[in-house]
């Protein structure tokens, strides 16, 4: 269980490491600010103390966040590695070999890479119109619905899944592909609705009106003006949905077992029935999509193009 958590939180940890590093470093010069000109020596001492405290804090933070990942990385390539040893004595790829030779594990990898894109696509198709409606129309119950989307993420999911399982049994969805897709969809709805809705709201209505004015019908306005302008935000939402689906374990386990065991659900078995290295290798594999997609999002999506487009209000 503990190792599964590693895998699931890895992507988030890396991302927040990137974010918080900037924040903490940015905070440093401020710590030096209260240097009172009247008592220079004391101020210098105090400044130095602040600086040391800041460095210690960053180091602790890095150890806390990078530590588990580093351990995981070492573990995946090591042979026997027991408590008093500071680092592994012998190196081996046996963990990797075992993962890629095990048909169960290979199958779970394939399943994961099938479910995540399908769930993301379904979520996009279902939630984008909802996001547009939330952004552009004022209808009764709008606020209630918006908040209730959050509510599905605010309460412990397992409770939700268990009551869903009841419904799924009566609909014969337990153990089916569709059942797994639906249960994974639940976790993506909040991203695919809130983020695009905010993006749609940020697009001045006059841009759409101008397109209507030159002769475009409502659908064409959406696909030629609204969608391209919201595309970066929609891409971010799709990445988050993909990762939410990819990392989803509880609901998939409940609904999919024994027919559909994806990578995160496989972690349950892995921790109990396989050598430690195999679990470490699998954790790393599970983390790869998160890291890659987050890096991609930072590089290509958060950039200036969106902001630049909105210099005109």
């Amino acid at each position: 269980m503990g190792k599964r958590a590693h895998g699931q939180t890895l992507g988030v940890a890396v991302m927040s490491a990137i974010e918080s590093e900037g924040v903490v470093l940015g905070g440093l010069p401020e710590a030096q600010l209260p240097a009172a000109p009247l008592r220079p020596r004391r101020a210098v001492v105090r400044g130095a103390a602040h600086r040391i405290a800041g460095v210690v804090f960053i180091v602790c933070l890095l150890v806390f966040m990078i530590g588990p990942i580093a351990w995981l990385a070492l573990r995946a390539f090591s042979g026997l590695w027991q408590y008093p040893q500071l680092y592994p004595k012998d190196w081996t790829l046996s963990g990797w070999r075992q993962v890629f030779n095990d048909p169960n594990l290979r199958h779970s990898m394939r399943l994961s890479f099938e479910f995540a894109p399908i769930v993301t696509a379904a979520s996009t198709v279902i939630c984008l119109p909802a996001a547009y409606a939330f952004s552009r129309y004022r209808f009764p119950g709008r606020r209630f619905l918006l908040i209730s989307l959050f509510a599905t993420n605010a309460f412990p999911k397992i409770g939700l899944y268990i009551s869903m399982a009841g419904v799924f049994y009566s609909l014969n969805l337990m153990g089916t592909f569709l059942g797994v897709v639906i249960v994974q969809l639940i976790g993506t709805v909040v991203f695919m609705t809130w983020i695009p809705a905010a993006a749609f709201s940020a697009i001045p209505r006059s841009l759409e009106e101008a397109a209507r004015d030159v002769g475009a019908g409502p659908l064409r306005v959406f696909f030629r003006v609204t969608f391209p302008l919201a595309a970066p935000a929609i891409l971010v939402a799709m990445i988050l949905s993909f990762l939410a689906s990819f990392d989803e374990a509880q609901g998939t386990f409940l609904v999919g077992v024994p027919n559909y065991i994806t990578m995160p659900t496989e972690m349950y078995t892995l921790v109990l029935n396989y050598p430690e290295q195999v679990a470490a290798v699998f954790s790393i594999l599970l983390a790869i999509p998160s890291v890659v997609l987050m890096a991609f999002a930072r590089k290509h999506v958060m950039g200036g193009r969106l902001a630049e487009g909105f210099q005109l209000r």
Partner: protein, 357 residues
């Protein structure tokens, strides 16, 4: 005037928004090729009126006719109007060329013709470089031209401009408004221009509709609007006007405090209390004692003329005089021309009544 001379006709148009009547039984006709300004303070309904012409709002009551054809319920993409938005509303993900070409491409015109027409209209608005730049990379004045080109390229029957100059700096504003007028005259397009700036309205319009409270207060050309404002609202909104309560007496008007000011032309005559309006340039100031006595409070040089702030009895008034008038503390004033209003409406006899008879 035959029906075809009227490019745009608003018949008893009303619109309620949020429980308030924004446009109230509005009547307006614009001749083909004419430039009409909707002028008024914010909240007077001018933009709402424009949006009903463009099809972004549907009137609750009344009809909108373009060249005699009823377009009241047509959506914007189906009516022959083109709008230039206040914020230009250029699509940031398309180049200048693509912004202008968008409407033509929707009409599935051949590529060569699209190119030719886009280049033609960009040439018309004087924007031949930057064709392949993105809107964020060009200046506000250039963005404005692109928005105008985008509207004109479709050869609409009616061009709508929603405060198109309000995002430009003062100098550019004057130049661009002259350009707009020049282009409008050249292609002879029926145009409705919304503004709250009277200077803008007076300098480029054929006719101006001054709006207040969702109604047209007066619809006239710039000269009559200024010389004979039909209501006290128009009198106060367009230009400067000295207004007083007064009665007509032989040879002039009697203001409160028994101040009798000699007056040349009076717009009407009759007993009782009037609201009297006098333009500052109609206040005659002299150094003899032919008229009513007034103290000079302030003298403001205005270039080729000066503005005097005067006090006569309990009243303050403004006068525009030639800069050759020597400075003085005490002057005598008379009115060359005064407009008489009752219940806010101008009273006017067929010919101006000389008060000296």
């Amino acid at each position: 005037m035959s029906a075809t001379d009227i490019g745009l006709d608003l018949q008893h148009v009303s619109k309620d928004l949020g429980g308030r009547t924004i446009v109230d039984d509005l009547q307006l006709d614009v001749r083909t090729g004419e430039l009409t300004c909707l002028l008024g303070p914010s909240g007077c309904g001018k933009t709402t009126t424009l949006r009903m012409i463009g099809g972004f709002l549907v009137p609750d009551r009344g009809r909108v006719l373009i060249s005699g054809q009823d377009v009241t319920t047509l959506s914007p993409d189906k009516r022959p109007t083109a709008m230039v938005f206040q914020n230009y509303a250029l699509w940031p993900h398309m180049t200048v060329f693509k912004n202008v070409a968008f409407g033509l491409r929707l009409r599935k015109l051949p590529k060569a013709e699209v190119k030719e027409r886009v280049e033609g209209v960009l040439d018309l608005v004087g924007l031949t470089h930057h064709v392949h730049s993105y809107p964020a990379r060009i200046s506000g004045g250039e963005q404005q031209r692109v928005a105008l080109a985008r509207a004109l390229v479709l050869e609409p029957k009616v061009l709508l401009l929603d405060e198109p100059l309000s995002n430009l700096d003062a100098k550019l504003r004057v130049r661009v408004r002259e350009d707009i007028r020049e282009i409008q005259q050249r292609i002879g397009i029926t145009t409705v221009f919304v503004t709250h700036d009277q200077d803008e309205a007076l300098s480029i319009s054929d006719r101006i509709a001054v709006m207040s409270g969702g109604k047209v207060e007066q619809y006239a050309d710039a000269r009559s609007l200024y010389r004979e404002p039909a209501t006290t609202f128009v009198a106060g909104f367009v230009g400067t006007m000295n207004t007083y309560e007064a009665t007509v007496v032989p040879g002039g008007v009697a203001l409160a405090g028994d101040l009798v000011v000699p007056c040349g032309d009076l717009s009407a005559t009759g007993d009782g209390v009037w609201e009297v309006g006098v333009r500052p340039e109609d206040v005659r100031v002299s150094l003899d004692d032919a008229g009513a006595a007034a103290d000079v409070l302030r003298e403001v040089p205005r270039g080729h003329y000066k503005e005097l702030v005067l006090r006569a009895g309990p009243h303050e008034l403004r006068a525009f005089v030639g800069s050759d008038l020597p400075p003085a503390d005490r002057v005598s004033i008379s009115f060359a021309r005064a407009l008489l209003y009752r219940d806010g409406v101008l009273h006017r006899s067929a010919t101006p009544v000389p008060a000296h008879s």
